[in-house]
Symmetry: C2
Subunit: 223 residues, 2 copies
């Protein structure tokens, strides 16, 4: 059974990789970088994006594709902070976004008028690691309410991410989470990870994140 | 592509359901109930099991099968609290336990000397919902650090669970989580859910959970 599962998965993934290459080519042609936000459910992807849209929406043209298993709750939350279109993808049970969904969503986004695309993936530390969406980089969020050993328990995700954003730092006094231990685990599986620490709720540590987003976004052409 | 994915998945799942029926028959023959613990990564499955082994390990013969994508960290943590065998299953990238793994793990468990089997699934709110392991019931853990709308965003898991255990209640003063709102969302997708509230860290609310576990476990035959 194990072998059959793997054969099947490889066929489906090969098709996904072809579509991801098409996404990547389309974004490159338009000069739009894309950040794929991944994490456990409830680690704070949507709130970080809400803060980012509030802070940077006026100076950068940010587009968002947000995926959920059911509901458009996250899309509704995000739409309150931007007058731009927020693309909602409901996966109807599937545990990750795939490149086919991103390719479809791009049809509704004016890439020429976009400086950066955020993709908010389904909350899941396993499956989204293996599905290339054509993004420039994966950003993995890691809440301090989880265990410090998440990077070694879910290594693929942390290996494939370019950036690790610790979230909910305001809860650090109330949880038995040692940040230096978590950083060591993360560096163990991916020494090249760029690491940021944030609290979206307390609005702490967000400036380095905003700086990173600004540096990623293409400079807006003078009006 | 969507159709092909579904065809494939249905074939693999049909095979899983056959194996789950074998697990269920074997457990029924031995009179051993099995609870399948599912949740987001970091919601506290392992700590709840540690507390349960400490509190009930002397009066009930508890067996544990614990799954992780990589590492045996959880199995090592649990083994400190019991002199019984803790079965570790490393899924090597797969996002859920399957019935084939449970069937293999049962080979090493003396079911005649077991009153209750815990299965600690991979931390994931999506995929484990669809994989029957032959359990008596799914127990879904839901941390108050997550969003209240998790039940409507991941409805299958909450629909298929018999019990919902809120975790990390000690963090409630520090997070914008409204317990009654989360309960309402949970009841909306599954009115029959039994709901418990716990804090494993602060050792709060555990007696009702222990009572539930005691009631599930078969009564031990008099020595």
């Amino acid at each position: 059974m194990a072998v059959r599962t793997i054969d099947v998965r490889e066929r489906v993934m090969a098709r996904n990789d072809e579509l991801a290459a098409q996404v990547r080519a389309r974004l490159a042609a338009a000069g739009v970088p894309a950040l794929n936000l991944v994490s456990s459910p409830g680690a704070g992807k949507t709130l970080l994006l809400e803060r980012t849209l509030q802070a940077l929406g006026a100076e950068r043209r940010l587009a968002v594709i947000t995926g959920d298993v059911q509901t458009q709750n996250d899309a509704d939350r995000l739409a309150r902070h931007t007058d731009r279109l927020v693309q909602a993808v409901v996966t109807h049970g599937a545990c990750h976004l795939d490149a086919c969904q991103i390719l479809s969503a791009l049809e509704s986004i004016d890439l020429e008028a976009t400086d950066l695309l955020f993709i908010e993936n389904v909350g899941n530390l396993v499956c989204p690691a293996n599905w290339d969406l054509g993004e420039s980089a994966k950003v993995v969020l890691f809440s301090v309410t989880e265990g410090e050993d998440k990077p070694v328990k879910y290594p693929t995700m942390f290996q494939r991410a370019g950036v690790l954003v610790f979230t909910k730092l305001d809860l650090l006094p109330y949880v038995p989470f040692q940040l230096d231990r978590a950083v060591a685990f993360a560096r163990q599986v991916n020494p090249a990870l760029r690491i940021l620490s944030t609290s979206s709720l307390a609005r702490g540590g967000l400036d380095p994140w905003y700086g990173f987003v600004r540096a990623q976004a293409r400079a807006r052409a003078p009006a």
